[in-house]
Amino acid sequence: MGKWTRRAFIGAGVLVGGGLVIGVTGAALAPVRHGLRDEDAENIGQLTTWILITPDNAVTVLIPHCEMGQGAQTALAMMAAEEMDADWANVRVKEAPATDEYANAYIVRAFVNDVPGPFERGFDYGTYRLARWFGLQVTGGSMSVRGTGHHGMRVAGAAAREMLVAAAAKTFGVSAGECTVANSRVTHAASNRSATFGELAKAATQESVPTHPALKDPKSYTLRRKPQQRIDLRSKVDGSAIYGIDYTMPGLLHAAVEIAPVIGGKLVSVDTSAAEKMPGVKKVVQLEEAVAVVADSYWRARTALASLKPQFDDAGHGAVSSASIAEAFDKAIGAAPEMPAAATVIKADYTVPFLPHATMEPMACTARVNGDRAEIWAGTQDPLNARKTAADALGISPENVQYTNLALGGGFGRKLPGNLDFVGMSARIAKAASPAPVKMIWSRETDMQHGYYRPAGMSRFAGALDASGRPVAITSLYAGGGDGESTFMPYAIDDMKHSARDAKHPVRTGPWRSVLNSQHGFFKESFIDEMAHAAKKDPFAFRRDLMTDQPRFKAVLERLAAMANWGSPLPPREGRGIAICESFGSIVGEIAHVSVSPEGVLKVKEVCAVADCGDVVNTDTAAAQLEGGVMFGLSAALLGAVTIKDGKVEQTNFYDFRTMILRDAPTVRVDFVISGAHPGGLGEPGVPPIAAAVTNAIFAATGIRVRELPIKNAKLAATT
């Protein structure tokens, strides 16, 4: 299909029925690129980011990212439609299928080729296992808009526009420069002629593909930087959206599972005879690490599962506890860092717990295995990796697995590559029940106890101030994970060092909304606040005065302080706290306003957030992402913890792992600084500053410094 230009990797082709297809391929970074010959081009033939224009004048944008709530699909379609001057009312979106052709290597490009600022300071490839991303179709790392959108969608949209204009100019017999485009229509005003994209699509396929289409000056945007309704929301208010857990088909069987409770444990034995005779039960499946019951309804599977008394081993981890891990951190870090001789030296330790993702939709996956072929249905953040995970679990080739991605009931990192254990498990269960299709649903208890947790961590800080209150040194030693980006502090202090210490534990960990930044955001922005108070300076002014080399940080901080009316008087036992972090290429500052009753009851009344993410595509979903990040991070800071005892996760469900509900939620106000910098993410960067903003506010209100999360464990009552 289509003509290829080897240099630019923009391609176009004709659809059955006379439509125009245009796309930009990610092949620029894929291994096939090196062997790309003209003959191959036709075979490779598919493009990463697609725009289809059909004769009915609809523009369909095919998007290689799933929708897990960020509005990414809407934003990406807007980026293409803006460059095309398409009529937004006639733009449709489709999610690309899980095939290699849609691998979004643009993710890799966004990280590697166009290294945004913070990554130069030592991006830890280990965190997201960058290598594994090659050829993957990931939605995560705030990458959709930054990578696919910025490099792919805009260019494909601009190329389509040029081809449509060229076709119109030929049809009208005028020069392309005299034509204008608006609302999916090309017009030649002087001769009063015009044609719709749909009418021009077929002729446009005959035009050569521009290798470097001109991109719009952002000042002329008509669609972007404005609030647009998300295209997927109607289905999310009327119950019609189909999530992974909702998938059904004729003959579907249902599976319930119990996994070895101790980390890494294996199934030793289970007596299945009674359960196998229970109503509706088809099979009891023994897996290495779990036992599953397959039945004709989920409730029957669950009931039979509950009657089993499986014996599991403890993989030698029976003595692991939160206390033993904290001890290991403390030992690995050792003595507090040395400080130069200075007027004032302060030291502080901070700790954060493990956190589950606790997506509202528990892990669920449907699989059908037939010989060496399989079909999988689930909602994951990486369809291609899900396909490979299932293939590996079955010992077959990924080409033999057909994977269909469905809506995700939350991701937050739980459904990224490396964390797709549930897909593999579902495939193994279905293999045992082959050829019947089997939907496996984890109970909330299984989901809570078998996560890939946000790593617990500890950081030991020391800092020195000279006689004028100016900081001269900050050093931290930390355990539990960290990297150059997450530990970066934007302050002009000559002597700043952050060093990792290694402390091993067997708890499964993984990326959790904002990865390592949620821990280090709390550590570093707490400590700089302690420095400000030690220097007897205002925490906002103290930070600002140290941002001499960081104009973007400074602009965000100043906008934020003005927005939150920083410094205006508050009643007793109320306070404001400020924090600012850069992650995924975006700088986000937050101010929390709290009150603490004399009895110690904390109320977060309001949070203001300002972000510089370069540019904003859809102002409304951008705001929603920041609001969501604030709430997600706040819920964790106030209440969230997973604790380990006897090698097991202690929490089981939402009654012992508490999360925020409506009555706990503050008002959130957000604003954006449009700096024009390389686009940053928005799904995650709202999270890192919030914990420190709140604990800094608690200090301002009460004089009590909370150095350990969650805040619910702190005693905040007034001492009499």
Binding site: Q70, Y243, W299
Partner: protein, 158 residues
């Protein structure tokens, strides 16, 4: 426990099912009747994702056995939009662009619809007391705004 024939009135229609009487209403609705808009989140009445209306009251269907329903009228999220027209709460949810992943929102909308049907001008305090559903994506600021807008109008219950 042996299966038995049970008749439920769901979204105005009598539906007969053959399930064990201890089957939670949630699984009867989802798996037997195929109405998947009602979600499973916890199974222990702790999250609200499974909220439906039973005789107009918001109830958590994961924790009610089908045998306890009798002739009561059950409304699920699919039954809120009469003739395809969203109810006032659903419309407010669209106007405020509330959902993110959307998974909790069926339950939220059911809970809020029942509350506003009973108290069209519910105060923030009444809302805080009644709406205890969990949303992990953190859509609370918009939920609050949508409810306030509805309560300021003439109420928007189903």
């Amino acid at each position: 426990m042996a299966r038995m024939a049970i008749t439920l009135t769901v979204n105005g229609q009598a539906r007969s099912l053959d399930v064990e009487p201890d089957t939670p209403l949630l699984w009867a609705i989802r798996d037997t009747l195929g109405l998947t808009g009602t979600k499973f989140g916890c199974g222990v009445a702790a999250c609200g994702a499974c909220t439906v209306h039973i005789n107009g009251k918001a109830e958590r269907s994961c924790s009610i056995p089908v045998s306890a329903i009798g002739g009561a009228s059950i409304i699920t999220i699919e039954g809120l939009a009469a003739g395809g027209k969203l109810n006032a709460v659903q419309q407010a949810w669209l106007d405020q662009q509330v959902p993110q992943c959307g998974y909790c929102q069926s339950g939220m909308i059911m809970a809020v619809s029942a509350l506003l049907a009973e108290k069209p001008h519910a105060t923030d305090a009444e809302v805080d007391h009644a709406i205890t559903n969990i949303c992990r994506c953190g859509t609370f600021a918009r939920i609050r705004k949508a409810i306030q807008t509805l309560a300021a109008d003439q109420g928007g219950g189903a």
